[in-house]
Structures are given as C-alpha cells and as structure tokens.
C-alpha cells in the first residue's frame, strides 16, 4: 500500500504537472483554435 504522504505527493504531482500545467495549456490552445474556427 502507498503511504498517505506518498499518495499526497502523487496527487500534488498530478495536479501541478498534468492539471495546472499540461491540461491548462492544452485547454488554452483548444479554446483559441475553437474561437478562430467560430
């Protein structure tokens, strides 16, 4: 079993790198390209 603190840092990593970082960047690009097409 993963320890509580390890799970905490796993969630932190996913949030900062994948949600705030990569995800937000891709959404910004997608929104702009949608605006252009509209």
């Amino acid at each position: 079993m993963l320890s509580g603190p390890a799970i905490g840092m796993l969630v932190f990593g996913i949030i900062v790198l994948y949600v705030f970082g990569l995800g937000w960047g891709i959404i910004r690009a997608w929104k702009k390209s949608k605006e252009k097409h509209d």
């Binding site: 079993m1 993963l2 840092m9 932190f12 990593g13 790198l17 990569l22 960047g25 910004r28 690009a29």
Partner: protein
Amino acid sequence: MGEIAAEYWKRRKGFILAAIGSAIGLGNIWRFSWLTYRNGGGAFLIPYFIALLIVGVPLLILEFLLGNYFAGSSPKVFKKIRDNLEIIGWIAILDVFIIGTYYAVVLAWVFDYIWLSVVYAPQLASGSLSASKLFSSLVSNPWLVLLGLAVTWFVTWYTVFRGVSEGIERASLVAIPLLWVLSVILVIRGVTLPGADTGINWYLSPDFSKLAQGSVWIDAFGQILFTLSIMAAPLIVYASYMPKKSELPNSAWITAFANCGFSFFFGFATWGIIGYLMSLNNVASPEALKIPLGGGGLAFITIPTAMGRLPGGPSVAAVFGLIFFIVLWLAGYTSLISIIEPVYAALRDKFAVTRRQTVTAVTILSFIIGLIFVFKPGMIDPVDFMVGSTNLVWIVLLEAAVAGFYLGVKKLREYANPYAELKLGAWFDYLIKYAAPISMAIILFYGLWFAKSINPVSLIVMVALLIAAILVTGLKWRTEFEEKKKAEV
C-alpha cells in the same frame, strides 16, 4: 551562393512535438526520479515546480521568442542583437556539437542493448550472466559500440537530411507518441509488480526537512535547466521554423509541462521495478540493493537485472528489456536530432551552405570525433562536466542577461502577445532579467565550488571550444549581412 529557401513546420503540433522531443532525453528517464528520491522524495516536487515556473517556462518562452523574432540560429540571433555578441551564439553551437559527439556514443550503447537484452535474456534470467558484466563487455568491445553508433548516426542523419517538415516533424509525430505509449506499458508493468508500492513509497514519501538544504534547490533549478533543453541553440532554431505571427508562449508552456510530466510519470516504472527488486532481495532500503538507482548504471545494470528476474521467464524479460531500451533510444534520438539541426542552421545562416551537404558533413565529423569516446569512454564524464553542464549554465546566463538588459524583454513581449494564448506581462521581464541570471549564477558557483578538482580534459575542451568560436566568428558572413553592407556602400 544562392538564396536558401526558408523552411517551416507544417503544423504547430509538429513544432511542439519536436520541441518535446528535444527536451525529453536520457535524463528524464534516468536522472529525475533518482534526484527526487535523493532530495526528499515527493518534497522535491515543490522546488522542482517552483524552478519550472520561475526559470524553466520563462527561459523556454525566451528561446522561442528569440528564434522566431530574429528568424535564425543562435549566432544570427546574437549578431542581430549586437555585432560583437555573435561569439556567444557560436559558443552555444559548438557546445551542443560536442555534446552530440558523446551523447551519440551513449545512445549507441542503448541501441546495442535493444538487441543484447533480447539475445541475453535467458542468461540474465538464469543468473549465469550479470547485467554489470554484460555492460562492461559491451563498453570494452569498440566494434559493437561502433555498430550502434553507425546506426544511431545514420537514422539521425537521415531525419535531419530530409528537412524540417519531411524529416524532423514527421519523425517527432511518430517517435513522441510511441515513446509515451511504450512508457505507459512500462509503468503499468512497473506498478503492478509485487513490492512496487514499497519502491514508489521511497520515490514519493516526502521529507520536508530536506527543503532547508540549499543543495536540494540547486538540484531542482539545475535539473529544470538541463531537462528542458535550454541551451541557447536547439529551441531557438526550432522556433525560427514557425511562421511569424505564431503562438509561442503557450507552446513553450505545453512543451515544458509535457517534458516534466513525462519525467514524473516514468518514475513510477523505475521505482516500481526498484521496489520489486527490494522485495525479491528482502531489503529495507533501496541502498541496500547495492545497485545504481540513477544515471547510466540504472539503465544498463539495474533495469536489465530486474528484467531478468521478472515473473514469466526469459521471454517476458526479452519483451520488457526491448521496450525499455527502445524508449530510452527514442528519447535520446529525438534529442540528438535537435543537436544536429542547430549546427546546420548556424552554418547555413553564416555561410549560405545547403542542408544536405552540411548535415552530411556535420554527421560524419561528429561520428569521427565520437570515436574518441568509443575507444575511451572514460573521457565522457570530464567532457560532459564542461560542455554538458558548466558551459550551458553560463551560456544561458548570458542569454538571459543579454535579452533582459540589452535587447529588452518588453520588445519581445509586445511581439508575441498579439498572437499569444498565454499573455506575457511585466512579470516575464523580471523573471528573465533577475530570476534567471541569479539562479544560473548560483548554480554555476555551486557546481564549480563543489567540483573539488577540474579534470585537465575539461579544460582542454573548453580552450578548444573558445578558440574555435573565435575563429568561426572571425570568418566573413556570406549571407544577408554581407549583402546589407554591399547595399550600404
């Protein structure tokens, strides 16, 4: 000399994937998770994330803007900023050229391991051959390494030879998604092994007291610089192939987070496997395994050792060994492309040479110089200390300082913002003018202070590089600068 037609990426996706390919390299696989473990586990993610935000992303955006604004390679960019700064660009180009010569040799070992890990899977599984013995017999057999080197250079040459959209873009569109898919397979295998949770606990359990140590912060900032391929050369050239009025800041953001996200993700494969080895050997800490937990040792000794002991016998060992080394090779190959392209672009900008002849000549020269590292692999470390580490820090320091204080970051911001999905505010100026140079200066000072002694080989390489940079800077421009002068007369 005839005019050389400008080349461009066909799609923005191609540019971003090529930039991600440049950034993701061997270090993402064998350095990041080891640094994390060594520097307080999951707590290391905090300085790493801070470094990414205040230095990594801004410097990546800066390199994209410089390349696109001045539409050329580093020497052209620096010369356009000011005539007598051209030499900085050449130092950067020669530096990456030397990196390519030994990086390709390491990739040659990786290439050989793709088939060695299959051929020797039964011996590794039965324990009749140890992974460390396999590695030492490879390194001490120059002919085998030469084979891997020839294949690695041939594929790289062919990719760059084909041009920006037909070669680099097409290769990136295949290699980067494949790299991710194969990595997903490795991570799934890693985290489902018996004992994987123990290893991942070691990888991620935070020790926040470590954040009080300066060395942890230095490691985080240094890793961000190296992992993002910020070297004042590859990404400048890649961005110069985007048309004017292109979106750049958000592309840099996506590149940076895709790169760092990959490192974080791959750590689960590595530490799942280390946890598995810990449970097999019934030891309480990773150190007790007495095998390398990072660097080349992780890839060439620890992983093959673990593969040989995977549940399912030699055929499973062969499949996962094959996948691991293909992933490693793809990561390195897409980086090696981004090392050769800026060398060509710099020579094209100054001497109006053609792609095919120049790329062929640069590749052959790199291969020949690389023979030194094939026959004397011990030379890699001292050369890397200078060109792959120390030089990059001060070159980027100069790049940020020149852009910040001489060119003016505001000018670049105003150039980018009308087309940007991520608007650059005054914060960008402060990060480039102060945060980046100060961070680089501290990393440089710390690195040299703790180097204890500097190998004479490092110094010889440094002197040779500087002499070459002075000589090439002194040669006449055969392209637009000369034409401009003629027009003025």
